[in-house]
Subunit: 350 residues, 2 copies
């Protein structure tokens, strides 16, 4: 298969982990006789620095032409504590999601048995946890109108959803549930928010076309508790943008292995793959960043194009690195392996 892949290393540890994912894709090309081409472009803080734009047009064009985007990480603390900053790295990612219409962010939360001891939760709570979050990614309060009055004393953000925005991701989530354990949980705040009530109405209606899937509802505050109290109860979770941001990050730490979790952001015509962890600027350039989440993002990319055997080869190589403890220090404090060495080991085992 021929695939055009846009590489967006971004900020912090983004470039170094992405490099390892590319090594693995190249190993896949060789082993399975595919032909992938890679083109790199700027995004985030580094793009602001070099082009005064967190998403330069050349980057956007490259992503639109590509079959898929492999993303590193975004963000730099220097912008975070400056409420007056007009340009922010995150705007690059948000605009990219919007322009590519990546309306569904898909995050599997799975427990790696060999890492269960790293979890802050007790083993009997999390073992066998296996759920997947569908987070709406191009609507809601992230993209609603933002206002601040002239005196700078009143600010607002609008959370708006349309039936169309809800139904397209709801269909994806129901389909996923059908292929899994037939359970879908909608997380909302329908006892307070009008937009949540629309979610509940639309999703309930769509549910009628998926009679085999059991649909239930959780208020977001309760969901934040249930994910810790009893994560095994979940199969597919569907939720809006802001709640999904919070709930999926919460979900990502319960397995004790955030350095291992990947995500896909998909739309009708485009797809982007990225690790869940952020830009982790403190670790930049120290050769300690865990490349596995980025490598597993590449595996999700392969799956997206139906290359299941190839993806499995990547996953098995990752499992091997975990078994043999060829891992970065976050997973094993005594480990001597750096980011690049872990990447080499995994690529070599594909």
């Amino acid at each position: 298969m021929n695939l055009k892949i846009a590489l967006l290393p971004g900020d912090g540890i983004g470039p170094e982990v992405l490099e390892q994912a590319v090594k693995c894709l190249q190993a896949v090309e060789e082993t399975f006789n595919h032909n992938f081409t890679y083109k790199e472009a700027l995004v985030g803080a580094i793009a602001i620095e070099k082009k005064r734009n967190p998403l330069p047009n050349t980057t956007l064009e490259l992503c639109k032409e590509a079959d898929a985007v492999l993303f590193g990480a975004i963000g730099d603390p220097k912008y975070d504590n400056d409420p007056e900053a007009k340009i922010r790295p995150e705007q690059g990612l948000l605009r990219l999601r919007k322009e590519l219409e990546l309306f569904a962010n898909i995050r599997p939360v799975k427990i790696f048995p060999s890492l269960i001891h790293n979890s802050p939760l007790k083993k009997d709570i999390i073992s066998k946890t296996d759920f997947i979050i569908y987070r709406e990614l191009t609507g809601g309060i992230y993209f609603g109108e933002k206002k601040i009055n002239a005196e700078g004393t009143v600010a607002s953000d609008l959370c708006e959803y349309s039936e169309k925005e809800i139904s397209r991701i709801a269909h994806l989530a129901f389909k996923a549930a059908k292929n899994r354990r037939n359970k879908l949980t909608l997380v909302d705040k329908a006892n307070v928010l009008e937009s949540s009530r629309l979610w509940r109405k639309v999703v309930t209606k769509i549910g009628e076309s998926y009679p085999e899937v059991v649909l239930d509802f959780l208020f977001v505050d309760n969901a934040a508790m249930q994910i810790i109290l009893n994560p095994r109860q979940f199969d597919v979770i569907l939720t809006e943008n802001m709640f999904g941001d919070i709930i999926s990050d919460e979900g990502s730490v319960i397995g004790g292995s955030i350095g291992l979790l990947a995500s896909a952001s998909v739309g009708d015509e485009n797809a982007l793959f990225e690790p869940i962890h952020g830009s982790y600027p403190q670790a930049k350039g120290k050769d300690i960043a865990n490349p596995i989440a980025s490598i597993l993002s590449a595996a999700m990319l392969l799956e997206h194009f139906g290359l299941f055997e190839e993806a499995m080869a990547v996953r098995e190589a990752v499992d091997k690195s975990l078994e043999k403890s060829v891992v970065t220090p976050d997973l094993n404090a005594k480990s001597q392996y750096g980011t690049g060495q872990v990447g080499d080991f995994i690529a070599h085992n594909i």
Copy 2:
């Protein structure tokens, strides 16, 4: 001291747990020679049933005249799954917060050492956790304009904050931090939301008047992770309404003792005290609901009026019930004690 206390039992297990709190207040009256008067009123689903209004005017008047409100719980599943319902129990609570200007919801998260084994988290993660959340309670997306178009296909909620709304609760939170470990963490989403950027600006400015307090910032998604990964890092957390709803419920389960956690909602002129748990309709009338959170809400009420010795007597009686395992089945599956018996034991030991 004379105190006029409004009792709002509300729905589900609200009435039965509130009854135990009143027993304890009566024991305090006798032991310490105070004179409290109690008047009861309807709120929530039961008020809708009897008066077609989740917050009847007589209830609101009673609360305004009272020195403090002791609240049970609110909510009934029959309204939750009906997106078309025009009247909802929660509206009663929200309107009450607004009318009494209870702008700060204060939730201590403390670990009861004798219950640490009930926590879903590992002991070494949570032991010695002791933080307190200040959640803004009368602004933000809960109270912003709600819209739905005529076709019912587009719905929105507005999240708006003013400098004044932010600064009054910020001052309370900084003062609390001064009396504790001098650390305040603002939880927001300033990399995306305009309203969060206003929070950051206003809180930073106010921080200059509290030089002894170290102020730091966390994005809400990161906060959802940090509360599980390392809850001991927190002293005082300050946040807006919606984030506070999620984060404080998440925080409430890490100790393994949500049936023990109380909260205060305060304004310049009014104060309301309630357990953190909800109406738990499945347990209603079964004499299994844990009354301790409600009893500890009464202790917070006493503290609010400077009755520290009295509050301590209540807390010590609660500790005794935990030590002797005179507790409801949620804390000890083998326990034979009911809600009323636990209430009697605690009241008796004051």
